[in-house]
């Protein structure tokens, strides 16, 4: 701490041995000068005297905590000592007279020294590490420059923590900057997004709808969520929609959702058409996105669909979920032809739509699920609606610039024919625009995960005591245990566990609330 760091830096930076030790204040420098054979005029006899003085000053400095000797020597030996002054920051033979005020603060004493220095070097007395206020000793170099070479204090304000008002201002700045960015590089005129979702009340509905709801809340464009519910509107669904904070339209659909995948697929298509008719009636304006409740959507999808003119197609990743632990046993040939699990537009080299890439379901033939909730892969059929987006004006009766390759919506599905995919809405399917870098970017994923159709789940996912297990589901994950309640094993936790399990399996015994330790039986309340 006493030593200046210059010798160290020199040693480290280069192997040159030009060490000018400047420790211990000016006295040390004088000593060094004598050692280094510099221009000091001191005779060897007086070197012991200087050495003792140096030692004394070192001790005093140690005691006080700063380089006392330097100040003392400046006061006493201002002319000569200064010329041989310690650090090398003196420019060649340039001395300027300046008046400075140096405030030094130590932990024990406060010493204020005001003195005039004819001094060409800049050094501040070292003080403790952190809490320094600004310390500058003298100016060096050219007359106009006020930038000092040498050691400076590290300026720290008394409360180096963020100010909440400034933090809010900074966030507002960032928001405005991002708004500008969107204006320059983003979509020029954002259109409303109309999201069509067919749904029905079942065990996994809350899971799927919650995920979709959160995705839609993050969409930065104005959005309307059109939810078509099979079997009429239910309170559970209505409650979820109300809590979502989104603008929604909840449409009841009279038919119930069938338990067969094929029939369910057809019913969903009819529900979507119903939604499209509602859009047409209400003349809703925007881009129609078909978001099935179990699908997962990326945010880039919603940015991309803003570009659609009339009808666009995006690439959908198909996640054929097996549902069982064992791998699908595929033949070697099947493994080779394992398809890319993507459905989407395929482009030719000039970037125009050349055809469709669909999911190859041949390797799965015969092993797919037929009933909802069966543990087998669920596959899409043909082209899924999720991969298409429409401009809602395409559905209106009258719209400016509506192309003639679009069929009138009323003409579709009237005779009860099957609407497999949105291409049936068109006369000429080749005018579909490929989106997402010509289908190269997969923007959403198609997934069908359902529990068995008769799975029980609490209404609205609120456990209202008491729960009555009227009919146990055939494949509950809990093992069959005895239905007796052994009273002598009350204090055994393991038994408590079993009892809880066995209670779940009991068909006729009513359920108690919490099991209180020491109670012989489950209590009715």
């Amino acid at each position: 701490m006493m030593k200046s760091l210059l010798p160290q830096s020199q040693l480290r930076r280069s192997s040159a041995a030009a060490v000018r030790s400047s420790g211990g204040g000016a006295a040390g420098a004088d000593g060094a000068m004598a050692d280094g054979g510099g221009a000091g005029p001191r005779a060897p006899a007086s070197s012991t005297f200087w050495f003792l003085l140096h030692a004394l000053c070192c001790l005093i400095s140690l005691f006080l905590g700063f380089r006392f000797s330097r100040l003392l020597f400046f006061l006493l030996f201002s002319t000569t000592a200064l010329y041989h002054s310690t650090t090398s920051s003196s420019s060649a033979a340039v001395l300027r007279a300046t008046t400075t005020t140096t405030t030094t603060t130590t932990t024990t004493t406060t010493t204020t020294n005001t003195f005039t220095l004819s001094f060409a070097a800049a050094n501040t007395p070292p003080s403790g590490p952190a809490n320094r206020t600004a310390l500058e000793a003298a100016s060096s170099g050219n007359p106009q420059s006020h930038v000092v070479v040498g050691r400076h204090g590290i300026r720290i304000r008394p409360w180096p923590h963020p100010d909440p008002v400034e933090v809010m201002r900074a966030h507002r700045i960032m928001e405005r900057v991002q708004e500008e960015q969107r204006r320059w590089y983003g979509v020029k005129e954002p259109r409303q997004v109309l999201v069509v979702t067919p749904t029905y009340s079942r065990a996994f509905q809350a899971l799927h709808l919650t995920g979709l709801l959160h995705s839609l809340r993050n969409v930065p464009y104005p959005l309307t969520w059109i939810v078509v519910e099979a079997g009429g509107t239910t309170n559970a669904t209505a409650a979820m929609l109300a809590r979502s904070g989104l603008t929604f339209v909840h449409i009841p659909f009279p038919d119930r959702m069938p338990h067969d995948w094929a029939d369910r697929h057809a019913t969903e298509n009819r529900m979507r058409l119903h939604a499209l008719r509602v859009i047409r009636e209400r003349k809703m304006d925007g881009v129609v996105v078909f978001a099935d409740d179990s699908n997962v959507h990326s945010m880039e999808l919603f940015d991309e669909v803003q570009k659609v003119q009339w009808m666009g197609a995006v690439s959908v990743g198909i996640l054929a979920h097996t549902g069982t632990a064992d791998q699908l046993r595929l033949s070697e040939e099947d493994k080779q032809n394992m398809p890319l699990p993507v459905q989407g537009p395929a482009c030719n080299s000039s970037g125009h739509l050349a055809g469709w890439h669909t999911f190859n379901s041949l390797p799965f033939s015969g092993k797919t699920a037929t009933v909802v909730g069966e543990a087998a892969p669920v596959l899409p059929r043909g082209l899924e609606w999720a991969g298409f987006v429409l401009n809602s004006r395409m559905l209106w009766k009258e719209a400016d610039g509506k192309p003639d390759w679009v069929k009138d919506l009323d003409a579709v599905g009237e005779n009860g024919e099957e609407i497999e995919n949105p291409l049936t809405l068109l006369n000429d399917p080749s005018s579909v625009e490929p989106l997402g870098n010509c289908g190269k970017k997969v923007l959403l994923w198609w997934l069908r995960v359902e529990a068995r159709a008769d799975s029980k789940f609490p209404q609205g996912w609120v456990i209202e005591p008491p729960l009555e297990v009227v009919v146990p589901a055939k494949r509950t994950p809990w093992p069959e245990t005895t239905t007796e309640l052994p009273s002598e094993l009350l204090d055994d936790k393991q038994e408590q566990e079993d009892r809880r399990l066995s209670r779940a399996n009991k068909s006729s015994r009513p359920q108690g609330t919490t099991k209180r330790k020491g109670d012989p039986q489950g209590q009715d309340n």
């Binding site: 930076r13 070479v149 304000r157 180096p160 405005r176 590089y185």
Partner: protein, 419 residues
Amino acid sequence: MGTGAGSARAMAAALAVLLLACSGAVAVARAQDTERIEGSAGDVLEDDPVGRLKVYIYELPTKYNKKMVAKDSRCLSHMFAAEIFMHRFLLSSAIRTLNPEEADWFYTPVYTTCDLTPWGHPLPFKSPRIMRSAIQFISNRWPYWNRTEGADHFFVVPHDFGACFHYQEEKAIERGVLPLLRRATLVQTFGQKDHVCLKEGSVTIPPYAPPQKMKTHLVPPGTPRSIFVYFRGLFYDTANDPEGGYYARGARASVWENFKNNPLFDISTDHPPTYYEDMQRAVFCLCPLGWAPWSPRLVEAVVFGCIPVIIADDIVLPFADAIPWEEIGVFVAEDDVPKLDTILTSIPMEVILRKQRLLANPSMKQAMLFPQPAQPGDAFHQILNGLARKLPHGEGVFLKPGQKVLNWTEGPRGDLKPW
């Protein structure tokens, strides 16, 4: 009467047209996402130097240039590589002339910053001797040095303190600019007002930053800028300045101590692989001084559209007459570092957006880079523009026969040894 009414009507029509044109121009300007850059020398960023000056390149023996690069090829990628690439650019440029009689400027291709330590740092200890030896060579072989004593010669000295040829500021100040270069024009990265090592009339250039590497890390410009202040680098140089207070004049340490707890400041000493991408997601990038006031951070901030916050008192920034840095960056005095958050959050919104528009100007980014091969508007061309703006040479450039100004034996004894 008729003429009076007619002239009044004509004037009204002219005024209306003028107003319409102004509003049209204003409307167009607001719709743009960039803005033209005009410095104190005018709208000169896109000038073409071809036809405005001629440069003659001396043929030096390869020990001054090619052999040094062959010895250590790291010279081509460190931040002082501008001297090598400038030579290569000039060799094949249209402003090169093979007839020295018609040249306006003379270039000496000597690479003084190519003597590297095993760790890649350039050692400046031999540089004065190398430069001196090169000047002796050209003054003996050709008469052009002696007729002006170097006043129409330019040298590229991109090292820490330019032609003071030392990495330590105190030693560099002590040495001063090499005496033989007192009349020549220096092209250097260092710039600080009223500093011994910034000669009057020098051309300040940006340090070399690898343009290809930066281009491969570009992200889409629509990526929202969600970091408020960004900085990666040292705050304390514990190897060379263990006590603190010398490195960066205490400014970097002050930044760390004041803002390490501030979530708006993404500052650390990490070396993340996403450094370039992060800069493109930041609104402000700190460019504090280090051991020298200049740093490649300025170039990176400009290329990635992040507003540079320059914390270096009295710094002279590259091409200061062509680029109005006060309008593009934020200057914070070293004493004001504790108030940095207040300063940055109280900049008016229009000012911030205007700075971003100026930074988005592609000619601004191009002016900071040294691409290979050279492209119009890049730093090579800006250097030549700067040299062209110094033409025609003034009165004192050409010496009378027999007049001598420079003292060849001036300087420390060690410099006089031949190389």
